[in-house]
């Protein structure tokens, strides 16, 4: 009966093991203990923790989108929300804005607003016509994504070479941080978002059954949806602002977790948070060592894995749903 609990413990142990081991990968050749310690605690550990928190947040937002739109292919990335966030961030970089709102820096605020703009657009279109199919939703997402990508290119074109290069590197998605500053910026955002989403786990279960059923069971669907839009925009915006758009984590992780642990969000949410963290650490570690001593942006790795995964889901979804 308590099978999900064992599976959750298993996923957590694997993910935490990845968190614990990742900082040591590629550290053996350094013999000087002081340097070793410094690298471990000032670079590797904060990076692993940062990757864990970012991965958790990305996976969780993907899970929310999949439940809300009843489609395993619907995620903040496929629906163009991450592009919106990237555009918002690129604009703030380009304009050289620097202010602070409620403790968030300008890039985070811009990124959040961009995400919100994109999600409102995609959802607005999806409400425009009655009887909207999953395919049309995804195509709207693709169009939104292209649209914001062009706007980013435009921003880049207008920027000087330095800003342009910064924007490009950042768009590849990277977790190279030093110290704990970025972690401390990201942690409250992901914590608050996760808390709200955990609070709404019963609503998410009902949304998976379809809007009409959810409403008839007593869910104020519109209000819940707006709250989830705001929450995921905040979370995606925060992550994109700090590490760029790291694609496909939000698609692969919740899907794998659902296969392992089932569709009940009271189990699925903690599993997604844990495995999302572990998964991104794994990808980041691979990105660090695969062309050592240089390193790849982690977004390259996740996208290389995500592309085929997307196609697999697409082919599979032609068959009756499981």
């Amino acid at each position: 009966m308590k099978k999900p609990l064992y599976l959750l413990v298993f996923l957590s142990v694997v993910s935490l093991a990845l968190l614990g081991l990742a900082p040591f990968v590629g550290l053996t050749e350094i013999t000087n203990n002081v340097v070793r310690e410094q690298i471990l605690f000032d670079i590797r550990l904060p990076r692993a923790l940062f990757a864990f928190v970012a991965g958790s947040g990305l996976a969780l937002c993907g899970m929310v989108f999949q439940a809300m739109f009843h489609n395993p292919l619907a995620t903040p990335f496929t629906l163009g929300v991450a592009s919106g966030a990237s555009f918002g961030a690129a604009v703030t970089v380009f304009l050289g804005l620097s202010f602070s709102l409620l403790g968030f820096d300008a890039v985070t605020v811009g990124s959040f607003l961009g995400a919100l703009l994109a999600i409102s657009f995609v959802y607005g279109i999806s409400q425009f016509r009655y009887g909207f199919s999953g395919e049309t939703l995804l195509l709207t997402g693709v169009a939104t994504s292209f649209f914001f990508s062009s706007l980013i290119l435009f921003t880049q074109y207008l920027s000087n070479i330095n800003d342009s290069f910064r924007i490009m590197r950042w768009l590849m998605g990277s977790l190279s941080v030093t110290g704990y500053q970025q972690l401390m910026q990201l942690l409250p955002i992901v914590t608050v978002s996760s808390a709200i989403i955990i609070w709404l786990s019963r609503e998410l279960n009902l949304l998976m059954a379809g809007d009409d059923i959810a409403i008839s069971r007593g869910v104020a669907v519109k209000r819940v949806r707006y709250l989830l839009f705001l929450t995921t925009s905040l979370c995606v915006g925060g992550i994109v602002a700090l590490c760029g758009p790291i694609g496909f984590v939000g698609m692969m992780v919740p899907h794998i977790c659902r296969l392992i642990i089932g569709t009940d969000h009271r189990w699925l949410i903690p599993a997604t948070l844990m495995f999302g963290g572990g998964f991104l650490i794994l990808c980041d570690t691979v990105a660090r060592i695969v062309i050592a001593p240089a390193e790849l942006p982690v977004g390259v790795i996740t996208t290389l894995l995500g592309g085929p995964f997307f196609l697999w889901l697409l082919v599979r979804s032609r068959k009756p749903a499981t």
């Binding site: 019963r202 009902l206 059954a209 009409d212 409403i215 008839s216 069971r217 007593g218 749903a321």
Partner: protein
């Protein structure tokens, strides 16, 4: 129980329902009939708060629908949608348990009352034996009984069903019709049901509401419904009437002349 006064519903400026007027008494069994696209499902959805009312008023227990929260409404009306539950990625029991949403907050525990509601719903619909199956593995008839069990578990005085027998074979149609009659007659649940089965409407419906192009064509007692001119106007189709060889009740047959 439910009063519908001059109800109109619009989507993107297209009128789906216009000036609908009827009352549903407690314990009533209302069958809504009409051709495809006549607004039957829309009517049910507007009673449930799924579709917004453009004009007119729906009152439930004397209070306007708009003044109920979705949660309060869910304790009064339950819903069996037209779409099949076979696509739903849930275990039967988990799906039925989700119907208790309106009685809970995010932190409240499953109570003995909830368990009793679940067990009763499973027993009454005869679905106890597959409570641990996945919805996706059920047959059409089993799945429809589970959908009704889920509505029943919500413990509402009113149940609204959208074409509950449309995709079922004759045997399972009879089974589901009998189940709905039991809910109405033995448990006193007020039933509002959309159906394409005019003989079912005439026989089991205490009242019948006939819709045509979003307007109310006829409303009256079920036994007065089966009448040649009315059916012809409603469906643009000739009907003949024959007595049932066993029960003697008049049944209508479409006559393709």
């Amino acid at each position: 129980m439910i009063e519908v006064n001059g109800l109109s519903v619009k989507i993107h400026k297209t009128a789906l329902l216009e000036a609908i007027q009827f009352h549903i008494a407690e314990g009533d069994h209302l069958v809504v009939v009409g051709p495809n696209g006549s607004g039957k499902s829309t009517l049910l959805k507007s009673l449930l708060g799924i579709i917004a009312v453009a004009a007119g008023e729906v009152r439930i227990k004397g209070k306007p629908l708009a003044e109920y929260s979705q949660r309060e409404l869910a304790r009064l009306i339950s819903y069996v949608p037209q779409s099949s539950g076979k696509q739903l990625p849930f275990e039967v029991e988990d799906f039925i348990k989700m119907s208790r949403y309106a009685y809970h907050t995010a932190l409240s525990d499953w109570t003995p009352d909830d368990q009793a509601a679940l067990d009763d719903a499973l027993r009454i619909t005869n679905t106890t034996q597959f409570r641990h199956r996945q919805m996706t593995t059920l047959s059409g008839g089993e799945c429809q009984r589970v959908m009704i069990a889920a509505a029943l578990c919500q413990q509402t005085p009113v149940m609204v069903l959208d074409e509950p027998t449309s995709y079922l074979d004759p045997h399972h149609q009879v089974e589901v019709h009998q189940l709905i009659s039991r809910l109405n007659q033995q448990l006193g649940i007020t039933v509002v049901e959309v159906s394409h089965d005019i003989n079912h409407a005439g026989q089991q419906g205490r009242h019948v509401l006939a819709l045509q192009q979003g307007k109310s064509l006829w409303y009256g007692p079920g036994e007065a419904f089966l009448e040649a001119e009315r059916l012809k106007t409603l469906y643009q189709q000739e009907f003949v009437f024959v007595p049932h060889p066993h029960s003697g009740r008049i049944i209508a047959l479409a006559d393709p002349q």
